[in-house]
Every structure is written in structure tokens, then in C-alpha cells.
């Protein structure tokens, strides 16, 4: 096993193992997430993402390894520990007859140092829905209510499990700015998502998990060596599309420009997107 647990980190994991029957759903996972960081966990379904996160949230037991979340083992975390974390579940917070404001007030009452429920509704953009019950909300509004419930206790660490599934692009952008304002308030966030643009937009670092292991952790721009990966130059010549991978795209384009004596038809220079390197990492053809 590698280094000891990092006691200053928001989350520190060493050699985490979770077994279902014969299969290791999580198979020796190491990770540190710094305080104040937004970390995105990426991985295909069944890779061990949800299992890992639910162990960190204290929902599941582990079969091996050491875990610390906010300085405590989640398996034995009590009310005090729970009041430091906020959880936005994939499944949401359930159905209720209560209004948004009533739900938030009840939730706030479980925490020692909660935010003002009305201000939280404002923050997630649901102020005008304060008196509405859950069933009167649209899908995106419900999700924002879930987030409001997750943050009203003023958690130092927030878990967000696929928070924007089912959002339209507009709602997703609004949600992103909400997450950024939470970061500005100092909240550490662990985000799982299927949307790579979301991870790239929000995360300080991303980790890719497959087969129960973290295969890489990097800042989004450098995952899989993206920043030094060969660029692909493409253009149209003699009515056909041409593409050439090159480590020196600038020189290559200058050459092309000289050859064409001016504009190169349909010129494009691309580098692998996060999605390209991600799909390659998890063994899918891009």
C-alpha cells in the first residue's frame, strides 16, 4: 500500500475494496480530494463509481482499505460528522406533500449551523416556487430543490450524483453557475457525471474509474496526455477530405497555406476532446 491517509484532505482513500459475491466492484482504489476542490469522478456504469461514492457517504460498508471523509471514517460517522456533508442523490429526495420552503426548513432543522432556507431557495433560483409542492415543479426545478436540500445544512463537503441528468442546455448552464458560486463559498464537491463537458467545465480535477480502479487522475485539460497529444489537421483538396495527425500543427498549416497560396479550403485543427481520451481510456472506440 502507498502513502498513509492524508488527514488534511476532505476525502482520503487508500486501497479501498468492495466485494459483491466473487467480484471486486471496487478493487484497490486510492484517492485524495483537497478541501475546496471540485473533483469529478467519471466512469462507465458498473465501474464502481456509485459504490465508491456511497461508501464515502456512509451508505455502504467496505470490505477493505482505509477511508477518511472530513477526518473521520464514514462507517462510524455520527450526527456531528453527517452535519458536515451534504448529499444530492441520483434518485432525488423523494416525494412530499410539503412546499419547497417547508421541506428546506425541516431539513435545516437537522443541522447545527444551517443556511437560511429562503436564501437557499434564492441561490438555486427557486425563490418564486417557495410555496409550491414538489409535484408542481419541472424536472430541472426538482433537481435544483434536491441541491437546495443538499446545501441548506451548510456542508463543507457536497456529493453530487449525476446532478444534471435530464436538464436542457439552458438549465445545465444555470446549474453550473450555481455550483461555481458554491465553490466560491468554500464547499468541496465530489461530482459524478456522464457529461464530459460538465466535468471539463466545473472540475478542478477529474478521475476516471474503470473495473473498480482509478486509471487516471488529472486536470481536465491534461487527462490522457491531451495537452501534448498530436493535433489533427483536416482540409479539403481535389474534392476529397484529407486529415493528417501532427505534433506540429502550426508548421503544418503554414506549409499547407504556402501550397495553396492563401486560404486552405475547410481548414480545421483539432485536438482530442475530453470525450475522445475518456472513451479511449475506458476501452471504447471513439
Amino acid at each position: 500500500m502507498s502513502a498513509p491517509l492524508d488527514r488534511d484532505a476532505a476525502i482520503s482513500i487508500r486501497g479501498l475494496v468492495k466485494t459483491y459475491g466473487e467480484r471486486n466492484a471496487v478493487d484497490g482504489l486510492d484517492l485524495d480530494i483537497r478541501r475546496g476542490e471540485i473533483f469529478a469522478l467519471l466512469g462507465p456504469n458498473g465501474a464502481g463509481k456509485t459504490t465508491t461514492v456511497e461508501i464515502l457517504e456512509g451508505y455502504r460498508s467496505r470490505d477493505g482499505g482505509d477511508v477518511q471523509v472530513l477526518g473521520q471514517d464514514p462507517a462510524t460517522g455520527g450526527r456531528r460528522w453527517r452535519s458536515g456533508i451534504g448529499i444530492v442523490l441520483q434518485s432525488g429526495a423523494g416525494d412530499s406533500q410539503l412546499t419547497c420552503l417547508e421541506l428546506l426548513r425541516a431539513q435545516a432543522a437537522y443541522y447545527p449551523d444551517a443556511r437560511d432556507p429562503a436564501e437557499v431557495l434564492e441561490l438555486v433560483g427557486l425563490a418564486e416556487k417557495a410555496g409550491a409542492r414538489g409535484r408542481a415543479l419541472s424536472g430541472g426545478q426538482r433537481r435544483r430543490l434536491d441541491v437546495a436540500l443538499g446545501i441548506v445544512g451548510k456542508p463543507a463537503l457536497l456529493f453530487l450524483d449525476e446532478p444534471t441528468t435530464g436538464f436542457d442546455p439552458e438549465a445545465r448552464r444555470q446549474f453550473w453557475s450555481l455550483i461555481r458560486s458554491l465553490r466560491d463559498l468554500g464547499t468541496t464537491m465530489l461530482l459524478t457525471t456522464h457529461y464530459l463537458d460538465e466535468a471539463e467545465e466545473l472540475a478542478d480535477r477529474v478521475g476516471v474509474i474503470t473495473g473498480g480502479r482509478l486509471v487516471e487522475v488529472a486536470v481536465p485539460g491534461e487527462l490522457g496526455g491531451r495537452q501534448t497529444a498530436p493535433a489533427v489537421v483536416s482540409w479539403t483538396e481535389d474534392g476529397a477530405r484529407r486529415t493528417t495527425p501532427t505534433p506540429t500543427p502550426t508548421a503544418f498549416v503554414a506549409e499547407l497555406a504556402a501550397r495553396f497560396g492563401g486560404e486552405v479550403p475547410d481548414l480545421a485543427v483539432t485536438r482530442p476532446t475530453l470525450e475522445d481520451v475518456y472513451l479511449q481510456m475506458i476501452g471504447q472506440p471513439a
Binding site: T51, E57, Y59, R80, G94, D95, A109, Y110, P112
Partner: protein
């Protein structure tokens, strides 16, 4: 980091949960109609249809009053808890709560307050309707005391059983499909709709396993003149045994709850 602020007091969280549970119940039309109004409708219909004397100048409606109150308690506790908690488990409410610092006890305190409120309201409506429509004789003197302990003990036993049973079905809808017919059959064989002494003996034996029969019997001692105790299969109200069986169910129910209660859906790993 500043000094940690203290966690909210248990009393405060209990109060909040009680408020949540009351709103959840009384704002949901389905639960109000099925749990609260169903026994009232039964009383109105049966009181009008089964308008005969069962001896000693006592009407069947007076007899039915004890049964329908017992059925009302069963609905407010066992059916309400089994279906309500199964629904909260399958829609993620329980998992969400388990992720908060809400103390576990607060959840159950909230449920108990809900059951008590629904039970009291149900009984009050039944008594008013019984007196106004059918001239029911209200209990008197120490009968109120018997009324109180039978209702309380029966409701405690059925609440615990309901919580335990809520872990069996897959979701709220299958809970309803499972518990509603069970409760109905139990009502038929426990002396709610018919005189208990006129039910085949083997059915009486089955009914005697469950709390409803004992609740109805205890409440008959409250609503019927003592002379009618002779009509009971045992020849008396057996109040001691009523207390004992209901207490035994409280213990069994509690053990079952502790062993079987789950915060998450089975489909959820």
C-alpha cells in the same frame, strides 16, 4: 475553524418531524379518504343496512361501533405505516433522510405522532357519526379508561407491525396490494362486520393470532352492556388476555422492526 456549534436538540428535531408527518398525511387526499373516511363510510352504510337487534335491546350498530373503531385503528396504524413507509423507501425519501444528521429516533417519533393524530381524529369522527346518525350509547365511567388502553396498546402493536411489514413489498403500490386485502380478510374474521361468535370456529382461531380480534373484543366491553359478555365465545370480555396478547404483539413487533427495518430499497443494492 471556529468552535463547533451544538447539534439541534432532540426535542426540536422531534417537533419538526412530527410537523412534517402530520402535513404529509393530512395533505394527501388519498390517505385522508382511505384511512380516515373509509371506516366512517362503513359505519354509515352498515348502520343503515344491518339495522337489527342482537339481544338485550342492543342494536347491531352498537356492536359494529366497537368493530369499526378497531378497524379504524388498524387502518391508521398498520395499513398506514406499511404502505406509507414502503412508499417512502421506494421513492428515496428514506435514503435521503439517512444521509442527514436527523437522529433515527426522530423518524419514528414523527410516525408515532402521525398515527396517534389519525387515530384520535378517526375515533372522534366515528363517535360523532355514531351518536348523531344511529343514537349510539357512548361509554361511561371506567369504560373510557378501558377504551383508552385498548386503543393505545392496539395502536402501538399495529404501528410496530406496520413498520415491520413495510420492508416486505417492493414499493408503495405493491404494499397496498399486499396489506389492503390482508386487512380486509382480517376484519371479516375478527368480528368487525359480523358477530364474532357466529364466525366458524377455525376462523376464530386464525383471527385470535392477530391483534385486531383482541382490539375489537376489548372495545366491545366498552360499547356493549356487560350482559352481552355471555355472547362472547369465552363467555367473558377477557380483558386480561386482551392486554396480554396486545402487549405480546408490541414486543414481537418491536423485535421485527429492529431486525428488518431498512433505509433503502432492495433494488438499490
Amino acid at each position: 475553524m471556529s468552535a463547533p456549534t451544538s447539534l439541534p436538540s432532540l426535542a426540536r428535531v422531534f417537533r419538526v418531524r412530527a410537523g412534517v408527518e402530520l402535513k404529509e398525511f393530512f395533505r394527501q387526499r388519498e390517505s385522508v379518504v382511505f384511512t380516515l373516511m373509509f371506516p366512517v363510510i362503513l359505519l354509515v352504510v352498515f348502520g343503515a343496512v344491518l339495522d337489527y337487534e342482537i339481544g338485550g335491546g342492543v342494536t347491531f350498530t352498537q356492536y359494529f361501533m366497537a368493530g369499526v373503531i378497531a378497524a379504524g385503528i388498524l387502518g391508521a396504524s398498520l395499513q398506514n405505516m406499511a404502505i406509507g413507509i414502503a412508499t417512502e423507501r421506494s421513492d428515496g425519501t428514506l435514503k435521503h433522510l439517512a444521509g442527514t444528521p436527523m437522529p433515527t429516533a426522530a423518524y419514528f417519533i414523527g410516525k408515532v405522532v402521525q398515527v396517534l393524530a389519525v387515530t384520535v381524529v378517526t375515533i372522534a369522527i366515528l363517535l360523532v357519526v355514531g351518536v348523531v346518525l344511529y343514537g349510539i350509547d357512548l361509554p361511561s365511567g371506567t369504560q373510557w379508561l378501558t377504551f383508552a388502553w385498548v386503543a393505545l396498546l392496539g395502536s402501538a402493536a399495529c404501528t410496530l407491525l406496520g413498520i415491520a411489514v413495510s420492508s416486505l413489498p417492493k414499493n408503495g403500490r405493491s404494499a397496498s396490494a399486499m396489506v389492503t386485502p390482508f386487512a380486509l380478510v382480517l376484519q371479516f374474521i375478527s368480528g368487525v362486520f359480523f358477530r364474532f361468535d357466529q364466525i366458524p370456529e377455525w376462523m376464530q382461531t386464525i383471527a385470535a393470532v392477530f391483534p385486531l380480534k383482541w382490539m375489537a373484543q376489548g372495545l366491545r366491553s366498552v360499547f356493549l352492556p356487560d350482559a352481552l359478555a355471555a355472547q362472547e365465545p369465552a363467555g367473558s370480555w377477557e380483558l386480561g388476555r386482551v392486554a396480554l396478547v396486545l402487549l405480546a404483539w408490541v414486543v414481537v413487533g418491536l423485535l421485527l422492526c429492529v431486525r428488518t427495518f431498512r433505509w433503502r430499497d432492495r433494488a438499490d443494492g
